[in-house]
Symmetry: C2
Subunit: 635 residues, 2 copies
Amino acid sequence: DEESVLVAATLVEDAKEGRNLSYILSGKCVKSYIVYNNKWFRWVLYLAIAVILAMAACEYPAVPGMELPYWATMIVEFFCLAYFTVRICHAMTFQYNNVFFKDTKNVVVIVVIFLTFLDMICFIIWKNVATTGRPIRWSRFLRPLFIINFPDGKQIRRAFRNIRRTVPDIMNVLILFLLSVLLFGLLALKLFYRREMHYPDGSPYFATYFDSIWDLYVLVTTANNPDVMMPAYNRNNWFSVFFIVYVILCLYIFMSIVLAAIYNNYRRNLKNEIKSAVFMKRQRLAQAFDLLKVLRNDVPVITHSRWRQLTSVLLPTKSHVYSDLMMKILDDDNTNVLSKKNFLNVADLMNVHLSEVKDRTTLQEKLFPNLYNHPISKKFKMIVRHRFFRYLFDLMIAINALFIALDLDVADWFFLVVFAIEILCNLYVAGIKEYFNRFWYTFDFLVIGSALIASIVEKIMGRSDEELQTLDVLLVLRVMRLVKIFGSIKRFKVILQTLLNIGTSIATYGGVIFVFFYTFAIIGMEIFSGLIHYYGYGEKIENNVLTAFCGNEKLKDSFFYKDQYCGNNFNHIFKALVLMFELMVVNQWHVLTSGFVQVTSKAARLYFFTFHMCTVVIVLNIFTAFILEAFILEY
Amino acid sequence: DEESVLVAATLVEDAKEGRNLSYILSGKCVKSYIVYNNKWFRWVLYLAIAVILAMAACEYPAVPGMELPYWATMIVEFFCLAYFTVRICHAMTFQYNNVFFKDTKNVVVIVVIFLTFLDMICFIIWKNVATTGRPIRWSRFLRPLFIINFPDGKQIRRAFRNIRRTVPDIMNVLILFLLSVLLFGLLALKLFYRREMHYPDGSPYFATYFDSIWDLYVLVTTANNPDVMMPAYNRNNWFSVFFIVYVILCLYIFMSIVLAAIYNNYRRNLKNEIKSAVFMKRQRLAQAFDLLKVLRNDVPVITHSRWRQLTSVLLPTKSHVYSDLMMKILDDDNTNVLSKKNFLNVADLMNVHLSEVKDRTTLQEKLFPNLYNHPISKKFKMIVRHRFFRYLFDLMIAINALFIALDLDVADWFFLVVFAIEILCNLYVAGIKEYFNRFWYTFDFLVIGSALIASIVEKIMGRSDEELQTLDVLLVLRVMRLVKIFGSIKRFKVILQTLLNIGTSIATYGGVIFVFFYTFAIIGMEIFSGLIHYYGYGEKIENNVLTAFCGNEKLKDSFFYKDQYCGNNFNHIFKALVLMFELMVVNQWHVLTSGFVQVTSKAARLYFFTFHMCTVVIVLNIFTAFILEAFILEY
Ligand code: NA
């Protein structure tokens, strides 16, 4: 009987937390499941995933200064993988085997762990036996799968599920779009090829069908507008009609339809997600109810004593008073027992914070009650709470802005002290707990606190070699103070509040994009690392054969070199991630592509095309769909 | 009494057509109103607006070969304005004066007509009296107001009303966004100024606050990414964080929020529009009912005889049978009279096509009944209607595509004849009326028909001087044939059908964008025409002082000249409109801007910034909102 209370409590906890991992409802399995959900084990998992992803900085091609020998990174990797194995085996202990192996995410994790071990063994053999050829760690691009496929990455997995479900539905639009590009490519080839025109750099204009399609695909991303049109437009004004029709159709109409189709599917999937989450929650609560129920007049109910048993397991830190209060709230038909209908609300109730009144007194009130409640102190609190007090400090920020704009650094200590005093006043009045519950107060505290520390450090250390970097940090902090004024203007408050509310979801999409970035970055590093280097520009560097043209003679006369893009390369993970970001912003992506095409072959376009399709056309549009929906619901 | 029937009929007609112009409900005024709504007067108005807009091609700076002396364009303009005056005076005859002058659109038209006359007089005096300085036609940019402000441009006015109502609601987001740009601009200036870096062309990097803001605003449009980052990124990898944070915040988050806010407002406004349109319709129908009603058992109704009177005015071409049928449909409670509730449906019923059965026979059946109904003919019709017949011709299109791809023009006559035969078969089976009701049939007819005519013309005329242009037309038509295959693939049908359904609304937004383009083009021509010319490129042209650097020495060493953008100028209206389109596509707009800044001053940035804000940030986002909503409703 004690066991069934434990199982019921776990089911209620699942419903409260929105967990949907299945497990066997026996005492042993449930205990194992509770250990599995321990937050420390979860945080170690997050750490292990972060570490295995971060290894890319130390593995070849490593970030300069962070290189580690291959056995060192492999030992770290081994411990991460070992923890993953333990974790996944732990999950096996409380699940039926057929359920466990039917779950794709478990299978994916097992396969990736296996492939990574295989890759490590291959690499060690290759490294030590074969003396020629550069050994490749070919499994590294699979690492982000750990983020998605452990049950702990619920949010991000949901976003990926949404993408997976949306893609088939927008396929028709995408195929129609790509067919249109093929058709226009044929037309452009026929129209322009026989006129033998040239781009400004002398390269031929729409010379082959493949180039024709590529140029037009790039035009849909707008990256080569108007350059792609200019030779034809200069020849005959009417040729502009071709490009205008193409852009209107493929960019403005088709791309809007892609967004519309994605938005439509996103909303539908969201609705289904919510429905199934609610269903899952009710199912768990119903199971818990069945375990706890007692028949009273042939009606199954939960009695007061059963409820006490449940809450003593579910909320061990809370008092009996609290438990009775909860029961009173749930029992809205005043029968002194909980019907099934009553009980189904327990998870929602637990997610509402019922704060007990005694917590309201601030720390300073507890420590110095006489001082805190003294008339002078009360008068002071009244002043600080008055809106003129806030206006005064908003004015100080404005004056501070003026000083920054005019490059007057002398008064900075004065402003720092003034803002520090403001913080102390607010802290005194609001109390620590209340203070750090407010976003703008916390923001203020962090910015001014960091600035104070940095200023003191700078004062003590004196102007050292790194003076510029301390100054930069101070500068950023100084300008960030001005941000606070946005938070105090009423018309912006609702926008910023909305942004804060959807902040975690935005972070989820940040995670999704990171997964794509990391995967493509690793693949890109395997293909393109070491082909392009940044050595600087100028005559001296150009005269040295080794350093000229980004260290690769093939880039001579290329736009990539002329635009001084040598710094955009795949030579280590951070460079590669920045390059991914630049490609996501789209502009000049065809020039970046052309650089890597020039040092390899035209097949490299496939890599950049795939990245654009995945990240820009699909993920960014889903992100826009998410913002649209979130803003419409919140605003 | 006959008068009240006429008034009632007019009110019903208004409700059917969705007209909402107010007028006095007297016989004389209504007759005047009916004349005002005559479609010929309306088409003359459209023509006059088109002509006055087209005058920009002939006025200074005119399209080469289309120049007219100023008095010639002014005479044409005078007649257009005279017609506008007549039209607006006509509208005055059937409206109360206070209603007429309270209506903004009437006031705008009157003011624009007045200003244009004033401008014409000023110009004539300036031209003939003052001998120095170039006289300016300063009122020309107001011409698009005629499109919006005549009652006949209902659709486009509605779109503008939507924009006008949306802008105040998104102001907060836009201001917050612009303030963020200002703040980041300050930070960038502080961070980079003292490091004295340079762009690849040697120009200083974030040297002044104004330049700093400009560069960052351009970055939000992505047009100078990654160039704006490269100098700092090459100096220190960590500076990339600044740009990445900026782009994420200002581009991905703020711009998505702008779209969300616009979409939100668009939906709300659309709902209000529909509500008020429905209200207006019911109001007019209620008025009509009150004019026609008779009391029967103290209940106001419309009797059969009254209905006959109404329909004889409303639908003079239809028979009594048709009128009685309509009444029977409306009278859904079988009382043999129309209650008010019954009558309110009349406008909707009139918009449904009740085609009479006798129309179903095709023309060929009427002319040769024996031949058409002969067994062989019936067999033939069965074959043509069979899906294998369609598959056969789809296959022919695929083969045709192959021939085009392989540049085999020899078989083109064969394909033309084959497709012409297909058209004749379909025409025979479906009949003319049914044939031209189907989009893909009509499309086919136009494409093949034009190709046949062009091919015959080419055959007869022989390869003349303009051979290339005939060939181009044939080529386009040849490739367009392939489009038909999209229409016969099921998965694309629903997308294309949706596109066709929202086609007219898309055209409305095309009109809105044209209004912005025209206004900005005229203003741009007044400011920038003649400053940049296209003379070609190459050594010979660069050695001539007059033709070098787009004919303007200030463009030496500029990106504008290096990228060979001389053809993008304001030298006549068509060039200007193409330039507007390029600016709308955004890419390289800062280079285009820099060219015009170099030949004038940095103040020119204001023109390009305003264009970007109006067209890209507001109108294009509203267009996206429209597509989103339309697609979600239709798909
Ligand atoms: Na761009």
